[in-house]
Amino acid sequence: MTALHISISAETVFHIGGFAVTNSMILSVVGTAVILGIAALLGSAVQHPTKSNRKVRALAEMIVESVNTLIEGIAGKPKTALFAPIFLSFFMFVLLNNWLGLLPGVGTIGFNENEEEKVVVLPQRKPLFAHIIRPVQATSAKIAEEIVGEPVEIEGTAATEEKAEIESKSEEEHTVFVPFFRAATADINTTLALAIISVFLTQYFGVKFQGMGYFKKFFDFSSPIAVFVGLLELVSELGKILSFAFRLFGNIFAGEVLLTVMLGLTKLVVPMPFYAMELFVGGIQALVFALLSLVFFNMATMGHHDE
């Protein structure tokens, strides 16, 4: 089996001026266009009710009612109108982008690009205790050279392995497969952006409902323990950003890798349960992202009334 090229970061497909457009950006624009299309469709059906768009209106009402019931159960009636659009936006955006990544052709249709030196390179692994082993190997190579009289290459030492690697690299044509499309949420940039938006909205709602006293949660100087707790709360907010970002990214990216590996091993029938699982996981992760954001919004607005 040829080596799988798994790229954690999204690859650039083309450039607009100096701006690099990645394959996940393309799909996220497609996802946004789909959402706007659905919104326009449902909106016009509700605003211009005719006999023929009964079913579309019924669908819209079903969606809005179920979302409102869910949010009322968590946040209570007055805040529902405030939280519902954001909840539904997060949910639809994440769901659509997760599912768009499962379409046939995403991740598989692409082009081969010559491997170039990238600016940011992950450090190549060195053997354990390299700083001890290499000088020892160098001295032993020198001693062997003096005994034999000509340069000696000892197999297995770091120097010879590096040489072999350099030689093999210059012989092969290194091309990298770059897919045209990639799920937007399989890109850490998208999920990080969503996470930052969610946590900033939490702070915004906190200030909106509690005024500037909301920040007393973080900076409480009444006692040393309170200062420490406030610090923990602050770090926990940053932890929430990372947690949101990595939960969504990890689930969707791991799903992509899983499908790629499964399709590489067996064809057509056996990967089907994994595909179903990915559909399920996409839905659940969208729900979890939106629900968790909602719960944090609600907690930010509530303050310490119940303590």
Partner: protein
């Protein structure tokens, strides 16, 4: 050694989340068993708790994927 690191990262990282998820669902099922009418109140909270627990396993998975891409 490198492959061992990849395998250990996800193997050990998925141990405790698995236990945690089991405990969460077990308590949710017990609660539903006692009071089947409250299912619609228990279930969203269970899913929420599941998300937190699973996120830890996902962190470990991301580390192992980074290690795969690196070596």
């Amino acid at each position: 050694m490198h492959e061992l690191a990849i395998a250990l990262a996800i193997g050990m990282g998925a141990l405790t989340p698995a236990i945690g998820i089991g405990m969460i669902v077990s308590s949710a099922l017990t609660a539903i068993g006692r009071n089947p009418e409250a299912t619609s109140k228990i279930q969203p909270n269970m899913i929420l708790g599941l998300a937190f627990a699973e996120a830890i396993a996902i962190y470990a998975l991301v580390i192992s994927l980074i290690l795969i891409a690196q070596g």
